[in-house]
Symmetry: C2
Subunit: 234 residues, 2 copies
């Protein structure tokens, strides 16, 4: 079992729940965070059921709990923020006093849908990206990474599917990146790629709108991306 | 042999020359355009030499000529604009009177390097993207597509390598897209993907900066992207 304890802020939503499910299955300690602790605990039950149905032998060793977001943040060594852009600022303000030494991984995508626009269009945030907006809102000592924007939430939630996607990770803290890389590698089908500093995150967020456009054109739900030409082992 | 005649505006540069080489090899009629006709003709000789060295049996059936940009444009059914962003506006103004019914494929990437900045940073153009800037500069009847931003120019120029990259194509003219798709498929290793309307091109252009960042981090030269989860034949 990994020594890391991951809190998924917004763990009842599609992306957050999918990540919680996959990490729980891999034996990582997961805390599902929600604004409403009752909903968090319901998500834990839903997760347990999904694992029981699909992988009963693995479900005995999982460690998942459900807590209100700030309590979840206080107990974790890594937080993944998987919330709609419309909720990002308020939720970060509600948890930033509880971060301790944790790494914050922002997965927020500023889709224009948040303001009633198209999901294939992006909002242009003053800071450059949702992740850079998150960077401003948490203590300077908190390492902030951007990741998980491009993987299909639907694929993550369906244990009969192996997601096929590279996880482009942006950030300015190399040690935090290495920690996240190890955790990404625990989920079959995902491969972490170092995409550079946090200032690259706006491009990675934009790829989500591109994949939504591709999903529509090709009538699929699971499109993702792979970086080619890297000659990486494993 | 394809009935299309492709003019590569900026065909003496890395990306343009690489595309000219690959299409010529595939039997497509190619015109290398340059601001300087002498340079265009030198590039034709260079192309012929590269094919002679690598694939002598194929070099006999190629059809490549070199012309000044506007003359090249006037003779082609498709133009690929493969010029630095700093030259894009001036060159488009110089050829827009010669476009006839041709399709314009913009491959320009607005990297901050054009103003002395980092090649991993983008310029934010008023129109949203270089391709949308091109759209403004040519007649309304000219179909404008965006493509070829992400493929490694180095890989295209090295005939011992098969490039491994999807070509994300943006545009608002479906018939033009289908024409370009056919031409992309003639180059082994490239796969055309419909990325949606021209307004998505800013994201596709941005992926180039991301790949430059990845190339640096991983000390490679040929990184590219593939879209996964499409279940396409061939």
């Amino acid at each position: 079992m990994s020594e890391e304890k991951i809190a998924i802020i917004g763990g009842t939503g599609d992306l957050g729940f999918g990540l919680a499910l996959r990490w729980a299955r891999a034996g990582v300690q997961v805390i599902i965070g929600s604004r409403d602790e009752t909903k968090a605990k319901e998500a834990v039950q839903r997760l347990q059921k999904a694992l029981d149905a699909h992988a009963p032998t693995e479900s005995s060793r999982i460690s998942v709990s459900g807590l209100e977001n700030a309590k979840a943040a206080a107990q974790a060594s890594i937080l993944v923020l998987a919330v709609p852009i419309s909720a990002q600022v308020a939720i970060l303000k509600s948890i930033r006093g509880s971060l301790g030494n944790a790494i914050l991984v922002d997965a927020t995508v500023p889709l224009a849908a948040a303001l009633g626009g198209k999901p294939t269009r992006m909002l242009r945030l003053w800071q450059g990206s949702a992740a850079e907006q998150a960077r401003e809102l948490v203590p300077a000592a908190t390492p902030v990474l951007a990741a998980f924007h491009n993987v299909s939430a639907e694929a993550l939630q369906d244990l009969s599917v192996t997601p096929e996607c590279d996880i482009l990770v942006c950030g300015d803290d190399e040690a935090a990146k290495q920690t996240l890389f190890r955790l990404v590698k625990l989920i079959p089908g995902l491969r972490p790629i170092d995409a550079g500093p946090l200032e690259m995150s706006g491009i990675v967020e934009g790829i989500t709108a591109l994949l939504i456009s591709v999903n529509r054109r090709y009538r699929v739900h699971h499109s993702g991306i792979r970086i080619t030409g890297l000659d990486l082992k494993a």
